[in-house]
Symmetry: C2
């Protein structure tokens, strides 16, 4: 059996009942989290421009999540996908070396809504698409990234096609054609990191995957060797000799969505602050610590761990996201790190700017209890009244090994969704996700993800 046939048969032949409950639970958690992140991305400039562009096409039958605007299927996937990655606040998974949920979610939401599919069918398609996407990304890692490609975009396109094919039940031949079409729609250079085009990669992946499915459904043909073969995904997108077909052959042997699982980003700022933030939250909880008790804070992280944190004295919200000093300050002043933490006024308030001086950062030796861990944070708080408090972590909260609870995920959703939805819709949305496998259609959920029009 060729590699392509292996992937195709995985998509078409995996029995729905063989998907374990843990995988369905992981899918529900991922959809809740990334839907919230997409909602928070809706007001950003990039997604707003994309919605404006597709508004030329007139209203269509499919929701753009977080917007009153309705669009054609492919346009809706493009717009929702761009929003899902606009804040870079969506989940990651290690094998993909990228963001797995953002390209899949807009594809399965849009297609399930248009075709009137159930919540269970959506979850099933999401899990299958996730496994294909993550394994494809893993098979070309790390040379794919090194060559300049963005796996979220490339593997995301084929993952979205896999999910779409599964969702509408394409047969093996049409699924094969869908993957072949998707191969030629896959792209996305890391040169565009730091611009609006990075989130556009996600919208394009969702859109391209669905375009491949719509064409294949109608009998459009493509290569038989979209995955293996001399010009299939593995060879085209990896350096010579570095593609790893055996990693893809393992598709179906385990559930990557469960293990190694999904990393959720807990704080809407540079990931380099996450472990130190966790330490400070732990000290606050254990010792009822307050800002006025503190003389200084010393933060130590692994060598290189401060490289991205280039703004010790941030002057606006964006700089605040790359400031260890500000993130810890905000935790002490506000007791939380949320989207509003990074509004310009929050960063510029005098009490925050004054407190920044008390925080001192360094890179240094790993604490003995975490010997061998690639990353850590060690936070020592010196109290004004004498004495000090210490906490250290190696894995950030929200990582696959330290997952957030459902309530913690829901709390993140309240923050993210709150940028565009009212409180009642937010609470109903959380409940929809909690019971998604029982929903006969997505209509109720979608209605609660879209604010009413003007």
């Amino acid at each position: 059996m060729s590699l392509t046939e292996h992937v195709v048969s995985y998509i078409t032949d995996t029995p729905a009942e063989s998907i374990p409950p843990e995988a369905i639970t992981a899918a529900k958690r991922a959809l809740l989290d990334t839907t919230g992140v997409a909602l928070a991305g809706v007001p950003e400039d990039g997604p707003t421009i994309v919605r404006d562009m597709v508004s030329r096409h007139g209203p269509g039958p499919v929701a753009i999540i977080g917007s009153a605007q309705r669009a054609q299927l492919l346009d809706a996937a493009l717009a929702t996908g761009t929003a899902a990655h606009a804040l870079d606040y969506d989940d990651t998974t290690l094998p993909l070396h990228g963001h797995p949920t953002a390209p899949l979610l807009p594809a399965v939401f849009a297609l399930a809504e248009e075709r009137g599919r159930s919540g269970a069918a959506l979850l099933d398609a999401f899990v299958i698409g996730f496994e294909v996407e993550a394994r494809l990304g893993h098979a070309v890692d790390p040379s794919h990234y090194g060559l300049g490609w963005h796996a979220t975009a490339t593997a995301g396109t084929l993952g979205a096609a896999a999910a779409g094919a599964r969702l509408i039940g394409l047969d093996a031949e049409r699924t094969r054609h869908a993957l072949g079409i998707a191969l030629s729609l896959a792209g996305g250079s890391r040169a565009n990191f730091g611009s609006m085009t990075k989130p556009l990669h996600v919208g394009n992946a969702a859109r391209g995957g669905l375009q491949a499915v719509l064409l294949a459904e109608r009998g459009f043909t493509a290569t038989e060797e979209s995955i293996g073969g001399p010009m299939g995904f593995l060879k085209l997108f990896a350096a010579e000799g570095e593609d790893a077909p055996e990693r893809l052959e393992a598709l179906g042997e385990s559930w990557g969505i469960v293990d190694p699982g999904i990393n959720v980003k807990r704080y809407p700022c540079c990931y380099g602050t996450a472990r130190a933030a966790d330490c400070l939250f732990a000290l606050i909880e254990q010792h009822d610590l307050r800002a006025e008790q503190i003389e200084r804070i010393d933060v130590r992280v692994e060598p290189g761990g401060l490289a991205a944190l280039i703004h010790p004295r941030p002057k606006d919200g964006l700089q605040g996201k790359f400031s260890m000093e500000y993130v810890l300050t905000a935790i002490l002043l506000d007791g939380e790190v949320r989207l509003a933490t990074f509004e310009d006024e929050a960063v510029l308030r005098p009490e925050a700017q004054r407190f920044l001086d008390r925080i001192h950062t360094s890179e240094g030796a790993t604490p003995p209890e975490f010997a061998g861990a690639p990353k850590f944070a060690h936070v020592e708080v010196t109290l004004a009244g004498g004495g000090s408090l210490v906490h250290a972590v190696d894995e950030a909260a929200g990582s696959a090994d330290h997952p957030l609870s459902w309530d913690e995920l829901a709390d993140k959703y309240r923050d993210t969704a709150g940028r565009v939805l009212d409180m009642e819709a937010i609470e109903r949305g959380i409940e929809h996700f909690a019971t998604l496998e029982t929903a006969r259609s997505l209509d109720g959920l979608i209605a609660d993800l879209c604010p009413a029009g003007d």
Copy 2:
């Protein structure tokens, strides 16, 4: 100045009046030819499926050439582009290692129609887009092809973006963003050669280039290094050390559309038959040769020149396209090689099947007069009444060095356009192209490229 800045300033700063008349003439010839090829492609299965898919989106303001269907701008470019390459009968240019006109034509036609631009503006944008596209393809040739990429698709996407940016007069900053967006929309694996997805590459290139322009026009941002830089076009799409920035620096020093120019495909069949067909037409014209005079024909071509001609006894139209024996037979029986030559019934008619046996092919030594030429055909006709006639060529008619006359191009257009248009519309269309630089808008031309609806 960076490579990207060089390309951007070429697009935005080249004075329209600096484009020589020869380049405008070449553009008109290319547009006439590829429009005809696109019209002939309209009834094919792949383009028909694409039109069906975009018909879901309801009617729009832009023509799909050769169809009564009107569509949104991006959908129209997708559909017309797919038709333009469906028969692989569209032009080529050496530096691109691909098909230059097919990705550009749908983009400039759709955008010029929607924005009410003139024929002169369209020709100007086409020439600028052509130069960018061909130079980009040249800069990554040959490793681009060797890695599995299809330059028509990849360079075509950036070429279409360049043409679109020029057509609507984007400023330098927005043009730069358009190229950056287009970089991440570029893709297309040669694994899909031989399937409907190969022509889809062209539709996607035209569509992606225009999407980049529409987004950039609205302020969407992208990388500053879409061409050079560590993850720009040259590095991303060429093997290590094989990208050739100096080939791109030559942009603006000469007009590639004039020299080396465009190769037009004269016959709608495998290019490996073209030189031998030219020889036989020459003998017919010189000697008033008729089939019944002929005892046998011996065709000799360069070593490897028969590799693709795998059907000495074709049983249907598609096989006939890859049959030296049938192409020469049809020339003798019909006096022409046209689209109708490759209908199944034409191939299967008894007088054709009988004549195939008289034709003998071989690969062998280059005739002395063409010493050093990479390809040739040598045709010797043995007459039933005794004696023989010989003709040999190295360059096929229609190649850049042996261009077809305008009347010969128009004759090809009559054949290709005849698949979907009536004779009056065809003749008016030829006249529109002949005077395109004087057209205030495309409305008259477009009307004559679209049959009335049912």
